[in-house]
Symmetry: C2
Amino acid sequence: MASPEIDALTQALARLPGLGPRSARRAVLHLLKKREGAMAPLLRALEAVNDRLATCSTCGNVDTSDPCAICADTRRDGRMLCVVEEVADLWALDRTRLFPGRFHVLGGRLSALEGVRPEDLAIDSLVARIAHGGIDEVVLAMNATLEGQTTAHYLAERIEHFPVRVTQLAHGLPVGGELDYLDEGTLAQALRARRPVA
Amino acid sequence: MASPEIDALTQALARLPGLGPRSARRAVLHLLKKREGAMAPLLRALEAVNDRLATCSTCGNVDTSDPCAICADTRRDGRMLCVVEEVADLWALDRTRLFPGRFHVLGGRLSALEGVRPEDLAIDSLVARIAHGGIDEVVLAMNATLEGQTTAHYLAERIEHFPVRVTQLAHGLPVGGELDYLDEGTLAQALRARRPVA
């Protein structure tokens, strides 16, 4: 019995990940109640992003400028390049503030099942960036999944003839992880990669 | 390291009920990835609602027209009036499609603790609607909380001299409720209001 406009807004919100029909309705009610405090800022922010949205032609990051803020930042260490599957992974790693270098977004992972082949990913542009020189270390930060690791393997072979150090993220216990809740694969990795106590 | 525009959008989404910083980031990434399929519809829907948002001057519902769609609907049974605390409650009851009448939104509940007095709620306009005539039944659909029931009690006294039937929602076991998980208050209500098996 809500108006078609309100229904459309509820549906648009309900399609966001993490929101269902119920929480979308609650969100809409919140927006309707707080027109100045919530609706207006959201609308302005959405307009601003929609107007300026761009994919970085260097690294594949999504930002409001091309090159993106990371590629344009001269304080970044251009000698380190971190390769990730998706933009979300880039953001997650960047939030740690522990990686001083730049990124490269593949746009997915190799998958026989889903028919994703090397030419479907931003691999040629990655190889071109490495071939261009100036890079000392390439961090393969794929997901710890079968497909992620297959992709990392493939990339490692593709770039092994370049004079760069190729590394990957450590696998092991997640912080706060309790042994008896972890899967055997993680435990096996943690055991294999065990280190002397400092 | 995301642009200020993207940060602002993430923050605006994170303030919605049901979304936190983490899920807001995931939602933003989804919007950035699906510009045509998700971002554009959400932006259009938000603009449409923001442009036309109105509070119904009759019942207090929030809609894109005044009178709202419910008050304007001539198929609704004007002899039945359901009083609710908030717009969210109106929507929830209307979704059941079981109430054929119209609504009245109080805009809250009486609360000594929060200093909400009768004059802070849309009670005078409720009494005026009933005094205007044509209403046979008033359903007091307050929340089953102490404050909700206090409000219902107060309203019942305010309107008892009108020739209307005053009812309230049944209290008892929620559908799917298991006895040993329910609080004693609910069980006591369910027991007191027990009915002969049909």
